[in-house]
Amino acid sequence: MMNYILRRFLYMIPLMILISILSFTVIKLQPGEFGSQYFSNPRVSPETVENLRARLGLDQPTYMQYLTWVKGIVTEGDFGYSFAYKRPVAELIWERMGWTVVVAGSTILFTWVLAIPIGIFSATHKYSIFDYVFTFIGFIGISVPNFFMALLLMYLVLSMGGTEVGGLFSQQYIGAPWSIAKVIDLLKHIWIPLIAIGTAGMAGILRQMRGNLLDILGEQYVQTARAKGLNENVVIYKHAVRNAINPLISMFGMQLPKLISGTIISAIVLNLPTMGPFFYDALINQDQYLVMTFLMFSAFMMLIGNLIADLLLALVDPRIRLD
């Protein structure tokens, strides 16, 4: 097992290098660069922009910019410097990590905790009224874009006289010490992103769970289990669900990068203090090392997520051997 994990980590190195080259190329293919935005400002003379480019190393060839960046990471663990914020990139990302993980984590939790039981219920009560209701809700969740759902929910809250729109806290609680009132205020705000972002993911998982379980329930071994007189709950939870859930574990691995990079547009619409809007600004400003670090981090999470999924799968399904 350790051998396998080690090998997977080694495979990640060339993969990350490839991803980084690709990402850097794409960033550089964008027209314009960090200095471009300043031309609109008559306060800034073109010489100042030239000066700025030279200082930031933007006048060097693309491959040199890339190599300098990689060298910094390898030799000093330095992920570069944000052009806009004049601060180390790692520091900036770290500052925003807390709320990002809280929002994304609770959304993922919300999604899975609701989706799996509903999926099982829908499968076992196939074509019942509940099944149709949940299927309907599921399709609405998939087809309505997250950001639109967010706007809709905010509109509803506002038109019903509520004031909890946008952000995670009312203005007076931001930066205030923790208290019962602050937690209540958080709960009053966080349900909108949970529902807006969560429903789409929930619908996908719900449908997947339902489909898998229906497949399995038609298998002969389930028939056998029933025939030998096992309790229906044991048939479903011990025999059927355990097999039906395997593909979902792979899906779970894919959720990890979403912790930091998912739902950018919704986060902007909902004014969440997470990484999404921050990343979006960095992309627009072409703050290249910030974007790169962010993308690399996201890719790394994806690889780790896959590894964890594979390990979990081996744990859950004894038929799978890693070595």
Binding site: S40, N51, Y85, R87, V165, I174
Partner: protein
């Protein structure tokens, strides 16, 4: 020229009730009545919003609107432009005199001013700021280009603790206006960030990760608390030197709070929910908010005559240097541009694009700018008239010879060009679409090219466009916009061949009227007397109106919504919105 350009008119009283703090008594500034409708009450917080969090707290460290907006509450300039009347008033300098030849300015600093950490403010801070920040080419938001006159730099020297002498290479008319946009920073906090090895290090001072007690100022507020990307709280500076006419120290509010809300819909929602006290709104939100106000909501919506640089007035430009010979010929012909001017339906643009909340643009000085606006241009504005446009185009020989509804150029090709504009600016996109319709009505084919706002400038300055709908902000003094409107300067993008190496204009590539505009700007810069400067800039506006280097379209009005419990936020008798962070109060 007047011997003393002294300020008898706007002389602000520095009487002060004499309570002594340390050795030096504070010379207070009593804030002009133009900013205070009524004497306010102390207390409360005033919450406003910005669309993005500041990149840094260093005013000179990044060109960032949020940083500028926030730090102007914390730092003060030597002189300040009255936010309403735009007249120059004393700031950290309580008075100033010009020498006879207009090249030396003596600034007398306000005595007894202290930084918010109780360190005294003096001439060393001024010298430090200009030498290491304002005029430091390595500071990202430096202002070097404004202080360079005829190739030489303005020099600041300390005479004594409270006197600074400025040497101008030549008389420089707008000098005081320029000073009003250079806030003075504390030497005792920033000097340690200078690094001779790494000249860019100054940009890293006062970054958003800095201990907030390090950031001190002389302004009405100081920074108290920052929650990353969410909110910034500024509190009253106990050492503030601004007072109202009854001797109350300003500001009135205890806290000034900025919340960061990226999406304008959410800003609006939060304003309606009462979370934000004041919001600058756009024309499209106006009808809904006004209706709610009429229906009894707890806020009011204010419309004011445009006085500020933004919303930037739009204009239509044609590339005089385009490679296509036929098009170049057309674009360079005054009659063609006149025909285009006849195709701009300003009234419809004002009604449809701006919900009637815009005015016809000046050329380009805003009409409220009493110091520089030339009303003669109004008579020269071409009316919207398709028939006139058709006649002019016929007379120029652009006729539809093959009967496909599109006129032909002399070489038989269709008369067709692209119109570029910023896709992220809804008003410009709408204006461009209306223009396209009108042009096609008279037989000219237009292809819209909508691109990202920041790229529009790249394209413009590279000459990669045929025509463009663009906008540049106004400024109180035309000299500030020299880089745009003076032929041959860095942003004169519609005629790039007038632009030579090292910012040297190429006179032989200019039209005669461009040479005259060039002259006017040169003269306006080195003249100290306002009436003389005004004549030069009147002439410039007139030439703009006659020769149409670009065709000015519209300027949006100032629109603002404010909660009813905010005092001293109102529209004054001249129709201008008044509302300054240090004079508003909570009822």
């Amino acid at each position: 020229m007047k011997k003393f350009f002294s300020l008898s008119l706007i002389l602000v009283l520095v009487l002060g009730l004499s309570f002594t703090v340390g050795a030096q008594e504070l010379e207070r500034k009593v804030v002009s009545d133009s900013l205070i409708g009524e004497i306010g009450e102390y207390g409360g917080e005033y919450v406003i919003s910005l669309t993005s969090a500041p990149q840094t707290f260093n005013y000179y460290g990044a060109i960032d609107w949020s940083t500028f907006s926030i730090m102007t509450n914390v730092l003060d300039s030597l002189v300040e432009a009255n936010p309403v009347t735009k007249e120059i008033e004393p700031g950290l300098a309580k008075s100033w005199e010009y020498s006879d030849d207009g090249t030396t300015v003596t600034l007398n600093l306000r005595k007894g001013v202290k930084w918010s950490d109780d360190e005294p403010f003096n001439a060393d801070d001024v010298i430090f700021t200009f030498n290491n920040l304002t005029l430091n080419p390595n500071a990202e938001a430096n202002e070097v280009s404004r202080y360079e006159i005829e190739g030489e730099m303005v020099e600041f020297t300390k005479v004594d603790e409270y006197t600074v002498e400025v040497n101008l290479p030549a008389p420089y008319g707008p000098f005081m206006k320029i000073l009003s946009q250079a806030p003075i920073a504390p030497e005792h906090k920033l000097a340690k960030h200078l690094d001779p090895e790494n000249p860019g290090a100054i940009n890293e001072a006062w970054s958003t990760g800095t201990e907030l007690s390090e950031i001190v100022g002389t302004g009405p507020f100081t920074i108290d608390q920052y929650s990353v990307d969410q909110k910034l709280v500024l509190k009253r500076n106990p050492n503030s030197w601004r007072y109202d006419s009854e001797g109350n120290q300003l500001p009135y509010v205890d806290q000034l709070v900025y919340v960061f809300v990226q999406n304008s819909e959410v800003q609006l929602a939060q304003f309606q929910a009462g979370e934000i006290d004041q919001l600058t709104i756009s024309g499209k939100d106006f009808p809904m908010l006004k209706q709610q106000e009429v229906d009894g909501a707890d806020f009011k919506v204010l419309t004011g005559k445009p006085v500020n640089p933004t919303p930037s007035p739009t204009h239509l430009s044609f590339n005089f240097d385009i490679a296509d010979k036929e098009l170049r010929e057309a674009f360079r012909t005054l009659e063609f541009r006149e025909a285009m001017a006849h195709l701009i339906d300003r009234q419809r643009i004002i009604d449809d694009v701006y919900n009637t909340l815009a005015i016809e643009s000046g050329m380009p000085v805003v009409p409220t700018n009493k110091a520089f606006y030339n009303p003669e241009i109004e008579e020269l504005r071409r009316d919207f008239n398709l028939e006139k446009a058709r006649t002019i185009l016929d007379d120029l020989g652009y006729e539809d010879t093959d009967g496909d509804g599109i006129r032909e150029l002399a070489d038989g090709e269709d008369f067709e060009f692209t119109l570029t504009t910023a896709v992220d600016s809804q008003d410009r996109v709408d204006i461009a679409s209306l223009l396209k319709d009108n042009l096609e009505e008279v037989g000219i084919k237009v292809n819209l090219n909508l691109i990202k706002g920041s790229l529009v400038f790249d394209k413009a300055l590279a000459g990669e466009f045929e025509s463009m709908v663009m906008a540049f902000g106004n400024q109180p003094d035309p000299q500030f916009r020299k880089a745009i409107w003076q032929p041959g300067r860095a942003l004169y993008y519609w005629h790039l061949s007038t632009m030579g190496e090292n910012d040297q204009p190429v006179m032989e590539n200019m039209f005669d009227w461009e040479k005259e505009i060039f002259e006017m700007f040169e003269k306006g810069q080195v003249t100290m007397e306002h009436s003389a400067r005004r004549e030069y800039y009147d002439r410039w506006q007139l030439i703009n109106a006659q020769k149409l280097p670009v065709i000015f379209i519209t300027k949006g009005m100032d629109l603002s919504a404010v909660q009813d419990n905010v005092g001293n936020y109102y529209v004054n008798d001249n129709g201008i919105i008044v509302g300054v962070n240090y004079t508003v109060y909570k009822k």
